[in-house]
């Protein structure tokens, strides 16, 4: 048993783990993560796809073997830090008594402690991470899952410079707590997240969308924001009073004609009882009539906000700073006279 503990706390074991982790990271970075089985088969062939999936290389950084390697590294760090603590203390006291600058002797120990905190912060953060998304166009109100708060997108704008390059994406929101009726306004842009209900809200994505409004005899009966070529929930408009009909937002195309500016074409497919009945193409806004219902499609730009709550990110950050401090101490604050752990042992 003693031999096992000694091995688990040894530097030989640490170096082996580091080399294995480096090799695992390097190899996993060569394989695109999170694809479907079919996608791997198309890229690497059937048998290779089977091997990749069996070895969990498709999600390498969350695989059992990667977590096990990281776990063993943590165990090694804990054991070697605990076992070596008396040695560091003894050496520090001796150097201090001799009047030497001894703080640097703690460098390696502090560095290992920092790495341990960093890995712990990252692992705990991954385990307890709460993440959700909120998307829509100005005027939309969505419930932010996990918090129960309602987010109304007041405005979304793409700020541009004189040369037409994008300077910033900005989403203005109103956060409403349905329980208390309390509202709060916030602005989210790239590099400037907002804090909402304990979550950080990040400006993540944008793209084309369409607002579909159904009217009957001039009165609005239905309204939905559609995203192109997404899931049923996001790109299909089912007519509430005519369940046999559904519109699918099939995407956009850029039309380029010589001597003219690019124009964007919006494509919508009308399905009746699940069978494609007709396709519609509009430059900008367009309408379709089905009986007394008029469906108007208006081009819009959607904004996607990602909400994340990682309560252990500060721990990882503290770990990083401690690691850095440990390295600086170990490299530049060593006493003049050096001695190694092995030499004393």
């Amino acid at each position: 048993m003693k031999k096992i503990w000694k091995f688990l706390s040894s530097m030989k074991f640490a170096v082996a783990l580091l080399i294995l982790l480096a090799a695992a990271c390097a190899l996993s970075s060569l394989v695109e993560q999170g694809l479907t089985r079919e996608a791997y088969a198309a890229r690497y062939g059937e048998s290779m796809a089977n091997v990749l999936l069996a070895l969990q290389v498709n999600d390498a950084y969350h695989s059992i073997w990667f977590i096990a390697l990281s776990g063993f590294l943590c165990l090694n760090l804990i054991l070697c830090s605990v076992i070596r603590f008396p040695f560091f203390l003894r050496r520090y006291r001796r150097e201090k008594t001799a009047g030497c600058r001894a703080i640097g002797l703690w460098g390696a120990w502090v560095c290992h402690l920092g790495i341990l905190l960093l890995i712990a912060g990252f692992a705990l953060g991954q385990m307890t991470l709460r993440e959700t998304t909120v998307w829509g166009i100005p005027g939309d109100t969505r419930r932010m899952e996990e918090t129960g708060l309602d987010i109304t997108i007041d405005d979304f704008r793409t700020e541009t410079r004189e040369d037409a390059s994008v300077a910033q994406y900005v989403t203005d929101i109103t956060v409403t707590d349905p329980a208390t009726g309390k509202t709060e306004k916030a602005s989210v842009s790239v590099n400037w997240p907002a804090e909402v209900g304990g979550f950080h809200l990040y400006q993540n994505n944008t793209g084309p969308a369409a607002r579909a409004v159904v009217t009957r005899n001039g009165s609005e009966t239905q309204r939905k924001t559609l995203l192109p070529q997404q899931s049923m929930a996001e790109s299909v408009l089912g007519l509430e009073d005519r369940p046999e009909y559904a519109f699918y937002f099939a995407g956009i195309r850029t039309m380029r004609e010589e001597g003219q500016e690019d124009r964007t074409l919006y494509l919508y497919d009308l399905y009746k009882n699940g069978i494609l009945e007709q396709s519609y193409y509009f430059f900008g806004e367009g309408s379709v009539e089905i009986g007394e219902d008029r469906i108007t499609f208006t081009p819009e730009t959607f904004t996607l906000l990602v909400a994340r709550e990682d309560r252990f990110a500060p721990l990882a950050f503290i770990g990083g700073v401690i690691t850095l401090a440990g390295l600086a101490m170990a490299f530049y604050l060593q006493p003049k006279k050096k001695e190694t752990y092995h030499a004393e042992r």
Partner: protein, 271 residues
């Protein structure tokens, strides 16, 4: 102003080439004066290069560190600066013959990239950019010097002790020690690079670590040098093995910088 920057860049690149040639001549002709001239040429080229970077920074209205061209030229600048500091500090002119080819190659790589000054995309508009990229440049420069020293160490082993070159290269232990110091500097700055990058990524992308290929390869590089330091400090691993390791580490650095952008696209596509 871009014309002036282009001229300064080209002249400094020619200067680096001349310095490299002079260092080679110093080794071939065994004349100490040649090394002295090479040192002056290198210093002058570095000053011109600095002026080119300053001009670009003024014209762009930001630090010139945001695309492949700018990073490559800054990388060459840092490698040249760090090698010059080490050469002066340790009176070690032969280092120039090993560092300058890498500086020149990096300038050549920069010259092949687009030099257009483009406005920053929203994700790059952050105060963390300066910290993250400048520390990466210093780290890469220091690792470049350690690799050059590793190569010198390996070459020194095949030299006669009494020869001209042997007189101009510190003894093996000293070369080994300088290479170690260079790795320490690079490792410290690479750690700062990774930490500042994580803080910035958290603000820009919402996650401080996403296993993006650039992040992953930075970690791989960090681990490789961590292994080097462990083996060296705890196992007394010095000499040839350490020199080989320093060269391998730098190959990994180059892959992280150029290889990842070429073969493994990710969210770091601009760097």
């Amino acid at each position: 102003m871009q014309n002036a920057e282009n001229i300064l860049f080209t002249v400094s690149m020619a200067g680096y080439f001349a310095a490299m040639a002079l260092y080679f001549l110093f080794i071939a002709m065994k004349k100490e004066k040649t090394a002295k001239i090479a040192g002056w040429v290198q210093t002058d080229a570095l000053l011109l290069h600095t002026a080119a970077l300053v001009l670009r920074g003024i014209e762009a209205g930001r630090l010139p560190m945001t695309n492949q061209y700018e990073f490559a030229t800054c990388f060459a600048w840092a490698l040249c600066l760090v090698s010059l500091i080490f050469m002066r500090k340790y009176r070690f002119n032969v280092l120039g013959a090993f560092a300058m080819p890498v500086v020149f190659l990096m300038m050549g790589y920069a010259a092949m990239q687009s030099r257009d000054i483009k406005p920053l995309m929203p994700a790059l508009q952050s105060g963390w950019l300066a910290f993250h990229v400048s520390t990466a440049i210093i780290a890469y420069g220091a690792f470049g010097v350690s690799a050059a020293l590793g190569a010198i160490f390996l070459m020194r082993g095949r030299m006669k002790e009494e020869g001209f070159l042997a007189r101009h290269i510190p003894d093996a232990d000293r070369v080994d020690q300088i290479a170690y110091r260079s790795v320490c500097l690079g490792f410290l700055f690479l750690t700062i690079t990774i930490i500042t990058g994580a803080i910035w990524a958290e603000r820009a992308w919402g996650s401080y670590w996403s296993w993006d290929p650039k992040e992953t390869w930075s970690l791989v590089t960090w681990i490789i040098y961590a292994v080097y330091l462990h083996l060296r400090l705890r196992r007394g691993w010095k000499g040839k093995a350490a020199a080989v390791f320093a060269v391998i580490g730098f190959i990994c650095v180059i892959f992280t910088y150029i290889g990842v952008n070429t073969f493994l696209p990710g969210i770091h596509s601009y760097a």
